[in-house]
Amino acid sequence: MMAGVAEDEEKWLSAGITGLQQNAFYMHRALDSNNLKDALKYSAQMLSELRTSRLSPHKYYELYMRAFDELRKLEMFFKEETNRGCSIVELYELVQHAGNILPRLYLLCTVGSVYIRSKEAPAKDVLKDLIEMCRGIQHPVRGLFLRSYLSQVSRDKLPDIGSEYEGDADTAMDAVEFVLQNFTEMNKLWVRMQHQGPARDKEKREKERSELRDLVGKNLHVLGQIEGVDLDMYRETVLPRVLEQVVNCKDEIAQYYLMDCVIQVFPDEYHLQTLETLLGACPQLQPSVDIKTVLAGLMERLSNYAASSAEVLPTFFQVEAFAKLNIAIGKVIEAQDDMPIYGAVTLYASLLTFTLHVHPDRLDYVDQILGACVKKLSGKGKLDDSKATKQIVALLSAPLEKYKDIDTALKLSNYPHVMEYLDNGTNKEMSNVIIQSIMKNRTCISTAEKVEALFELIKGLIKDIDENLQDELDEEDFKEEQNSVARLIQMLYTDDTEEMMKIIHTVRKHILTGGPKRLPFTVPPFAFSALKLVRRLQSQNENVSGEEVAATPKDIFQILMQTIEALSSVPAPELALRLYLQCAEAANDCDLEPVAYEFFTQAYILYEEEISDSKAQVTSIHLIIGTLQRMHAFGVENRDTLTHKATGYSSKLLKKPDQCRAVYACSHLFWLDEHNDMKDGERVMLCLKRALRIANAAQQMANATRGSSGSVVLFIEILNKYLYFYEKGVSQITVDLIQSLIELVKQEMSGENTTPEPATDAFFASTLRYIQFQMDKGGVVADKYKPIKI
């Protein structure tokens, strides 16, 4: 059915074009032979094709454009005709003899154009006559095109100031009057289209209308280009008249389009000076008009204008642009009862952008907008409208982007209230945006108060907001967001130790609410942040001793202890263990033996009670050993206890090679280079020997179970330890011992059952090369190595 209509239309169009071309041909012939009478006759016949009612606007336009081209030629002819002495006044009468009105008026406009150009009558009089006569076309489409033609041929002939057609005193007014009248009439025709024809074609009609809208809007463009329209005239005449028409036409499509046109066409400066009038029209528009987009467009323009030059800003203040916009938005929201939430939020977001551009120093304005937004949202609960949510995110992001400083946002009391209306997902997203902003601008949040506010803001990330609602959040996303929280914690920093202490308290309070899923992410950065403070306090203490300090490392360690304990609820023993060890090391640096001991104890307890996975055990024990090795704060007794324990754990590891490695690592616990009281060759030796034994056992076990001798790599590793301690001067390590171990390795490697392992071979070869190197070096070291035979 539709296809049929389209086909028919195509046929009608081509028939129209054919008719038009045919008459155009005869018209040309008449033009060539200077036959005015025939020229008029055939041009009128040609234009009769435009009388059709069968074409959609789109197709009609095609026909119109062809006629338009022909009329250009006719106009040239008329011009020549007057040059040849034909009176333009007579010509103007002659074309009016045509019986059909549409061709008559097209011809009249064409001659009118020549008439104005001839200057035999004032442009304003001719224009006035033309516009009056055009009333005869009441058919919307035909009328719109005719008037559009009039507008087209007259636009360079308006009696504008500075134009060659300039008339007497009120000349620009005449030009404006003409265009305004054409605009008004065209808009009426355009609106009328909506009400003609059956209701079922409404959609089609609306589509057709939107195809025609630029014909109407063009008039506003022309108005915008009239030189004579200064601010006063714009304020007194142009704007009120245009708005009057816009408001009175009571048509949704027209109102939306035309408001937008007005905003886009006229200079920003004018808008600023007539803001009240322009905004005053908004609440009077039909409730269904998408006024938010219109206003958003206006505010965007004004924002850009404000951004364009600092010189224009005083004008903004002078006209109280913000207050006016704010009031207008309030009114619009009030007037349009069924405006969706997102509409309102969009408006506020635009206003906010505007404010940020124009009044960057007026935080109160920003807060006021947010407040208004809260008011609108209140009682509605969480938003489930994705568009609204998006707008709120935009609303909330704007100040962050503008000020590049979260501090400012934190000062906005309504900011968190707005956030509350976001659904959980978006809330988190917004929190992320906030964090990103902080990270990007490397803003330090430097007071506990702000930290408090910030955490309040991003609480969606900090804790589960709705416990009943099990988040089906993607694991990856969750990690991502918690990682950003972790990074954020690093940004909570001040040089003022006292304040920093407060910050630490605050952070702790918040992260502890995070629940087991979040703690593994949040506790480490917190711990490190706290340890950083410890180090700072430490260095301060060294500088200014004796001063009473509010925050002491001891306090911090206490906090840390409690915080890390919380990880047991996760549980995350390995992480906790690492943190304990970190703390222990820090305590060691502060010479707080009992504290360090306590941390170690905690670590050991975790090791014993919680870490059961053998791999984890291996890692942990190496960490313990490594940390313990560096501890110097411990007295002999404590140290003994701890080292004893560590060696004990080492030898109890499950796999022999692991045991072996752990045990030989323990040897380092007894030989600290810088501390002479911690050099116990005996025990070093003991450890190494035990390691050797275990290595043997491992070898045998491998033989027994797999029928092949195991790797000799353990022996080589132990050999390296021998060499290390030998070099350090542990007297218990003798050349003989080394020598025999080398032999052992060689023997093992050449054994029949041994599968050759390139890595091991290389390892051994490079060990031997090292020995050789040391020998060749000369001096004391070489002397030591000389006795070794390789």
């Binding site: 019986g99 059909n100 009105i101 006569m133 009333r135 005869g136 009441q138 058919h139």
Partner: protein
């Protein structure tokens, strides 16, 4: 041979020329056979002066019982074709009975001739003025020659010329108010006016202004009325809404109009009407007819 030719050819040529024939304005006049001929134009009370030249064919003598010229004003009704009613008849004797041997020229003059009616070519009636030269020959039949001329009379501009203004309508359907700037128009006039739509509840398609001529002939029971539409001028395209006002500007010069004739010699009348026609989408016509008076102003040029 000569005899035969002589029997069918007129025995002499008669030519009628006007004294100021070269300078006098000529206007087209439609003859009975449909041909258009340029003929001189006169108005009432003018002197009709000229000469008549009679030339016998190739030296033949023409015997006659006298020669005369008549000025006739005639009305011919088409239902009574060929029967002329002379409302004006003036005679000048040119020659006494005698013989004509060679070309002879007779001047003639009708002074301040009353020609109250204009030449008119209507549907059912014709009014004409003619000069008729008769060479009276008793037995051989008279030789007659005609010369048409046109009479137009001019009226001064009317001292009172009211506009026509009227509100018409169909209850609850259509109410309009229209206005024509005058009630009396001259032939080259322009009708200016407007139509104001007070109420529109029907879907109009267009609106035309027609000029209609109503010619009535005869009288009493034999009255014959013939109406012609001389102009159909589209005023509006499309459907207006309430409050619209549509301008009228109709130039009368392209149309062949005459002045209004009121009861010419009790034989006929010609009246003019403006007919405003509105057509709706179902092609129903709504119209209102108003008489206007047409008059002829003296041409200034």
């Amino acid at each position: 041979m000569n005899y035969i030719i002589g029997a069918f050819k007129p025995a002499c040529h008669i030519s009628i020329t006007f004294f100021d024939g070269k300078s006098r304005k000529q206007v087209p006049s439609k003859k009975e056979n449909g041909q258009t001929l340029m003929v001189p134009l006169f108005q009432s009370q003018e002197n009709i002066v000229g000469k008549i030249s009679i030339e016998p064919v190739s030296g033949k003598k023409v015997e006659h019982n006298g020669i005369k010229v008549e000025l006739l004003g005639q009305i011919e009704m088409y239902f009574d074709k060929g029967n002329f009613y002379d409302f004006t008849s003036l005679v000048r004797e040119l020659d006494i009975p005698g013989e004509l041997y060679e070309q002879k020229t007779y001047p003639f003059e009708f002074s301040t001739v009353e020609m109250p009616y204009e030449t008119y070519n209507g549907v059912n009636v014709r009014l004409r003025y003619v000069l008729k030269v008769t060479i009276n020959r008793g037995y051989a039949g008279s030789i007659v020659e005609y010369q048409d001329f046109v009479v137009r009379n001019y009226t001064p501009p009317p001292s009172i010329n009211n506009s026509i203004k009227m509100e018409v309508g169909i209850e609850d359907c259509l109410h309009i108010e229209f206005e024509y700037n005058k009630s009396k128009y001259h032939l080259k006039d322009v009708i200016i006016g407007k139509i104001y739509f007070l109420l529109v509840r029907i879907k109009l398609k267009n609106m035309d202004l027609e000029i209609r001529r109503r010619e009535s002939t005869g009288s009493g029971a034999n009255t014959h009325v013939e109406t012609e539409t001389l102009a159909k001028f589209e005023l509006m395209d499309g459907a207006p809404v309430r409050g619209e006002s549509i301008p009228i500007r109709l130039f009368l010069s392209p149309y062949e109009l005459t002045p209004t004739y009121q009861n010419i010699n009790n034989k006929f009348s010609v009246k003019y009407y403006l007919n405003l026609v509105l057509v709706d989408e179902e092609d129903r016509r709504y119209f209102k007819q108003q008489e206007i008076t047409m008059l002829r102003l003296a041409e200034t040029s």
